[in-house]
């Protein structure tokens, strides 16, 4: 990976760049797939918490996303989403196959947690 690309990441994504790369270095991104083809991404954050990022649109369950991206429009994305994209590009995603029920469970669990 050339230096210019890294600096380019920093330019566009600002403070998210280094933490996202760190997440990629640590292989924290897992692509979760179900038999029907539904996918989502789970990112293991630095505090040990697992955040879920959607594959069909920009979304992450971390509070920074809700605040900086959705409400304040200060950032384009959070470091977890960036880590997902980078991991996809570099083929550094871990893979996990789960059943339909389990995938649904992950998505619904997020709702319960916050509720």
């Amino acid at each position: 990976v050339p230096d210019e690309l890294l600096l380019g990441l920093k330019f566009i994504f600002g403070p998210c760049a280094v933490p996202a790369l760190d997440l990629v270095d640590q292989r924290s991104v897992t692509r979760v797939m179900s038999p029907s083809g539904r996918t989502l991404y789970q990112v293991l954050g630095s505090s040990g918490k697992l955040y879920t990022c959607y594959s069909s649109c920009h979304f992450c369950t971390c509070p920074a996303f809700g605040f900086s991206v959705l409400q304040k429009s200060e950032s384009l994305l959070c470091k977890h989403i960036l880590a997902v994209y980078l991991s996809q590009a570099m083929g550094a995603c871990q893979e996990l196959s789960v059943s339909e029920e389990q995938l649904t469970g992950i998505l619904l669990a997020e709702e319960e947690d916050e509720g």
Partner: protein
Amino acid sequence: LCRGGLAERLCRLQNRERSAISFWRHQCISDANIPSDKSGVLIVKILEIFEECTIQVAICQQLEQSTAMCSPEDAVINSEEPILKVLFTRETAAHLKSRPQDVIHIYPPWQKLLLRNTDVPVIMNTYFSQKVLLSEHSEAREKTYGLAKMLIRKNIISLAQTFRLDDLDDELHQESSDNQVACAPQIRNNCDSKQHPLALSAVNDSLLEMVESQGAVGWREAQVRVVIQRVYCLPARQGYRSHIQGNNPLCATPIVNTDPPNVRLCLLVQDAYGMFSEVQLQSLSSTDDTEQYGRRWEGKFCYLAGMKILQRTTRGRALGLFSLIDSLWPPVVPVKVPGQSQDSEMMTTNLPPPSFCYILTIQSGEVHVEVDEEEQISDLYQPPAVHGLKEILRNGGCNERCSFWAQVLYLRLQTKHSVPINQREILLFVTDSTLQNAVHMTPKAVAVSVTASCVLSTEITEALSAASQLLFFKDALWGNGRIICVERTVLLLQKPLLCSAAGADLSELTGPVRLDELDSTTQANSICALRGTVVGVNESTAFSWPICNRCGNGKLELCPQDRELLYCKQCSEVVITPVLKMQLEVFLSCPSRSQSTIKVKVCNEISSFVLYVDTTECPGLFVLLTMLLFLQTYEVQSVLGKEVGLLNCYVHSVTSHPNCVVLEEIVLL
């Protein structure tokens, strides 16, 4: 960060880049000669500018070298000239202050990005940009555009479009978007933005706005984003729990207390406008988590919702709280000014220190304090500034917060054992390398008073009882020549993650600890070392008694079952091998303070395994043996005139009439 990983690489590259950028900016400001080597320089004329997510996007036309030499106004927009989309970061944009029709020179290294399916290339990494100014027109331009706000255009694709829900009717659409976007409650309101347009503006980063707009009733949906500056425990206000340990209420209470303390976890937070607030969270069952929370939370962003205003307090009424706030003032990064549009020029650090502070607490039922532990430490965070004790003592401040590392030499409970643990006051004698290595005019050890309002974790109290500890005192109070640990002071065994240390590592003590020698300046309630000659013995105070070899309890009793054996109520066991403690008061003549009568209570201990004799036949043998041993060690005649070496002592009292100093020999931890 992973060694050799991409993140580490980028960090290094970033640091280099940052130095290059500041050098460049400096050059621009000082009008130094930019190298005339124009190769690689991109010359653009701005046609249109807008901002998106903190990046400034400028639609520009690339100019040829030759045309740039003439006046920019003369350059006719040639439709054949390539159009570029140039991106500038917020800092660069503030530096350039560009307007449409400006000509910008972009020096390398910049990057060009060609996206798929678009014709317009994107130029990024434009840190090294400079505007070409024409002096006669710049003034007019400044006036015209002085008050213009940057156009903000948000190219947001609605989720309805993404999920192709446009053809469903409104109600269903609303419901579906709610279901499809698994919102956390803090952003659930935004999903209903069509019906509640105010909900979007309810979230902000100003504590004052929140408080003033909602009143004392409390608020639910609205959220404030703040930075956690400090985490600490405060004793609960609803009184203390009387302490009764085990089945013996009269027993001497050790410092370690097994009852859960009545404390609340509190945060001192600061918003983007620099305003502080103390947030009182839940009651803790154990104080051991405080250090954990501190490590994980200090410096991070936190989203508060559902808070209730407990009090609006002012400087005069809450000196302790404001001394902590003052230690965090002025803010280390510019803060926003209320009521202004947030140009970076409007942010300031030049504000008077706060005069009031809101104390917030959790509304019963709704607990909504979310700390974003993932995020990096905020720039606004001010870690405690660590200084050496010598520097702190020299500082002429009053009621200022200070943080330091110190080795605990000696500990003394200032209150009687019968006082409940929550009201005990402890006197710690501490030192550090700055005091030990100081040449003169500085005491070798200093007393730190820990009041009952300073919450100590059980870990700390256990550690203090055990051995000499190196402790980190965070936000202790210094004033009137004393250091005290009060409310909001935190004692830690380990260094907090982020600490600005002044100078070298202050924690290492090289060599044995030395105390100041007793002299005319010695005061009561201090510790010192002394040497002298024994000139008298106070025989009436000669005393010896057995103490428990396990816990040191000096109040042993005769065993109820067998009155020949000793029993320790604290251990609830028979003491088979008591330790014999002997105490004697001697009068010394000390050359360092020759005018005063020096009375020292010396102590000595011997393990008494030799005393374990079957005393059933000779009941008085134990006592006799004790007396013999005692006399052997302290036979008066042999003691007079004896030189007493450097004894470490605690000064009980210093009186001038009569001129007497009463001390007690101590053992340093």
